[in-house]
């Protein structure tokens, strides 16, 4: 019997008052906190008699340490950082300046280097970074500025007064598997905040709930996602120089799936290797972790990796619906930033700089709200207006139809991209529609039993232990860890659907798309003989790496990812 996490009924929860609460300490949240601190410092320099306090500004971060749940390629476009922190290059952890880049198209056994790198993929002047180290450094700056970062505390619920967001409840700690209090039970805090800034990252759980409650996405395209599965490798010297970027299209994906890979050279022969698979594939047996393994077996890649060793693993989804998929970004008491909103430029494969910039603009708006003592939609509504006037829109508008062009496959996508290039992003229509990726899943009956042209993408990766790895071995290298005695945080609203309908119709794609082996169909020895399905869903919740793929890709949309007890999760040191 699966028991799922839910906030407990607690009388008299401890309460705290706050001016601003930022939910999530990633690039958006940290940039937001830093910008807010700067504005307050500037104000206090002019108004020494009536200074504003930073004491009641808090960042909530579910990881045990800042940056531990951050995963990206990563190449940083420094534009936002230069505005926020001129000269950051001298002290921030940067692996290398990009000095060499190439794009390759892979067939099953060959590779073709594109004669020129398409302009959106040109990375000269950008930096290869470890987002984990970079965010850790930002957190130090935030704390040095006098803003408190609560690591190990997740936002578990939003507090409302009608449709106004009035605060955040943090996670209950010390709850056992059966949702009962353990001896170390500590109820979550109710933090009453004038302004709540959501910076939860991709598919934020509070953001999702808020968007649904207030119907914030009614005018937006459905958000579309990919999942990036990443390994960090240590290679023999001389293979990939610090600052070298190699991007690939094509194999192992067929023309039906969207995605591609990036290899980024860092310091000390550490290379980041990530494969992003669009979460709009059709065959429910497809496994993104398998896709990465097959990619590494391509001769071009295998040769680069030969003799190296895999040192870390992780996965994270990313939103790539672009401009048209942004929800309403602000309302009474709240603003939505970064990946939670969907600020990603999918043509450039970049979002960190947009996340930072959105956080900074949210900070400027929050500052105004504090000054005016008005955090209603009339003040916070300035945030989307400022986004419109900023370079964020300038950048995203040009690629507003990019990803939608690929909904019908790679070739159609390339044609649409070419058309959009010469029409300033418009292409054939002013606004290309999009569709939820999970709606693309087809029942296995529609495919060859053996998988046909996609056979190498389906089912579990075996792994040779050197170049390729089975999922559990990869997972071990994510360092993920959770308190084991807690209710499952992957909330399945109706497990009957898993055991019966989904087993029959889709063959339980969760057991394939989850890059952490959380979902498993197990023999049910206790089931009565009359039961239709001999298997039932079982969760290895402690394996979860917080990528949110299940929440996005489950065909019945019955999985809700909620934060587990704060502090649990992957350990993305150096990722």
């Amino acid at each position: 019997m699966l028991i799922f996490r839910k906030p407990l009924d607690v009388r008299d929860r401890p309460k705290m008052e706050a001016d601003v609460v930022i939910v999530g300490g990633g690039p958006a949240g940290m940039a937001c906190a830093l910008r807010l601190s700067q504005l307050i410092d500037e104000y206090n320099a002019i108004h020494p008699d009536a200074p504003l306090s930073k004491e009641n500004i808090y960042v909530l971060e579910k990881a045990r340490e800042a940056g531990q749940h951050c995963l990206s390629g990563a190449v940083l476009d420094p534009r936002a950082m230069r505005e926020l922190f001129p000269g950051f290059e001298t002290e921030a952890p940067i692996e290398a300046k990009v000095h060499k880049e190439s794009v390759h198209f892979l067939t099953e056994s060959r590779h073709f280097k594109l004669p020129v790198t398409p302009p959106p993929l040109q990375d000269h002047g950008n930096y290869v970074i470890s987002i984990n180290r970079f965010v850790k450094w930002m957190a130090e700056k935030v704390e040095a500025a006098g803003i408190t970062v609560f690591t190990g505390f997740a936002g578990s619920e939003l507090l409302y007064d009608g449709n106004r967001v009035t605060g955040v409840r943090t996670d209950d700690k010390g709850v056992d598997k059966k949702n009962e209090k353990k001896s170390n039970f500590e109820p979550g805090y109710d933090i009453q905040a004038k302004v709540v800034i959501l910076a939860e990252g991709t598919r934020g759980s509070l953001t999702k709930e808020l968007i649904a409650k207030l119907d914030l996405a009614r005018d937006a395209n459905p958000q579309t996602y990919g999942v990036g599965v990443k390994e960090l490798w240590e290679l023999p010297p001389g293979r990939i120089a610090p600052g070298e970027v190699i991007l690939t299209l094509g194999y192992p994906l067929t023309t039906k799936e969207y995605g591609g890979a990036g290899l980024y050279g860092g310091q000390n022969n550490i290379v980041s290797l990530a494969f992003v698979t669009g979460l709009d594939y059709q065959d429910p047996r497809l496994d993104p972790q398998r896709v990465l393994q097959e990619f590494k077996r391509h001769p071009f890649i295998a040769k680069l990796l030969e003799g190296g060793s895999m040192i870390r693993y992780g996965a994270k989804s990313l939103p790539y619906g672009g401009w048209w998929a942004l929800p309403a970004l602000a309302g009474d008491g709240f603003m939505i930033t970064g990946d939670s909103a969907g600020f990603v430029n999918s043509a450039r494969l970049k979002g960190i700089h947009l996340a930072m910039k959105s956080g900074m603009i949210a900070a400027e708006t929050a500052f105004e709200a504090l000054r005016k003592s008005d955090s209603s939609a009339s003040t916070l509504g300035l945030y989307p207006k400022r986004i419109d006037q900023s370079w964020i829109k300038g950048e995203l508008w040009k690629v507003r139809n990019f990803h939608q062009g690929f909904e019908k496959g790679l070739y159609a996508g390339l044609i649409h991209t070419a058309l959009q290039q010469v029409t300033f992003g418009r292409g054939l229509h002013e606004r290309y529609p999009s569709h939820f990726g999970h709606e693309n899943l087809r029942q296995p009956a529609a495919f060859h039993v053996d998988g046909g042209p996609e056979a190498h993408l389906l089912g579990d990766a075996k792994g040779d232990g050197k170049l390729t790895f089975d999922k559990l071995t990869d997972l071990y290298h994510s360092g993920t860890k959770h308190e084991e005695d807690q209710p499952a945080h992957l909330v399945i609203h109706d497990t009957n659907i898993c055991d019966t309908r989904c087993a029959k119709e889709f063959g339980n794609p969760c057991t394939h798309f989850c890059p952490a082996n959380v979902y498993e169909m197990v023999e049910d020895a206790t089931a009565p003989a009359s039961t239709v399905s001999p298997k039932r869903i079982s969760l290895n919740a402690a394996n979860c790496v917080h990528c949110k793929t299940c929440d996005i890709m489950d065909p019945y949309q019955i999985i809700t990812w909620v934060p587990p007890e704060g502090g649990g999760g992957p350990n993305y040191d150096g990722m």
Binding site: M16, F150, G152, L472, T473, L475, E523, A525, N540
Partner: protein, 330 residues
Amino acid sequence: MPDTILVIVEQHQGKLNRVSWETIAAAQAIAADTGWAVEAAVAGNDVAALAAEVAAKKLAKVYAIDSPQLERYTPDAFAAGLKHLITAKHPKLVLLPHTYQVRDFAPKLATQLDRCVISDCTGYKRDAGKLLFTRQMFQGKFSADVSFGSDAPWIATFQNGAFRGDKAEAGSATAPVESFAVNLDAAVRNQPEDWFKEAKQAVDLTQAEIIVSVGRGIKEQKNIELAQQLATALGGELAASRPICDNGWLPMDRQIGSSGQTVSPKLYLALGISGAIQHIVGMKGARAVVAINKDSEAPIFEIADVAVVGNLFDIVPPLIEEIKKAKAGS
């Protein structure tokens, strides 16, 4: 009469809980700041000797709350007994150590006095004549200073280690002990059971020389018995991989692997364990590994010294018989 601070010391079966000295030290520190007097009380049956021990400290008085009903701890009796004393003596501040027992009865005591408790304090401050108590929030990332909004008596508990017990000052003379007999017959509804004792030391697999470990291949909970028989025959301990403990078929303290224990026995018998790296890291230090698994490609075989490909239900029962025979023969 000056205002007083009353410290409730804790005893169990005639022995003082050392943390009581910390609470006395706390009271003495507050008294030094406020000029209040410090008194102490010990509750139990026939506690005169304990009261005398406490009276060696620098205290104005020690109360020995005596009642047969206090012989064995019950929340009803302790709350009622202390309520009698507090209503009779009107202390300004009542201090207790933040022990499990205090956690159990202090809310009841406070409710009966129509007061609240500031619990688990790590220190105190005096601010403009006001007494503030420091409590940790957000798992120690913050501390909050809290004061009482109500009239005395105020009740507060101090965290273990907040004050140093060896700083509790001895008195120049023994403090007077006042016997305070209470009749609690009407108050006590609880029937105490025997004092809880940990039945057995939790199993320490790291010390086991022989471990029989089961994985998912065991199929059903009732088959665990088979592995237990093998472990018993070998004189070893029973352990498991994560799915088994996750299902609740064996307790968590028998789990081997990255989220469980790390062991290095002389012999490790893996029954139906596939050998994912998460399990291997917990047992790869074993001197000899015998693995039984029906999947010949199971990764456990890569590290096994003896690899048996086959159904464990066919192999284990005769194995147990053979071991028994061998042992009987020797």
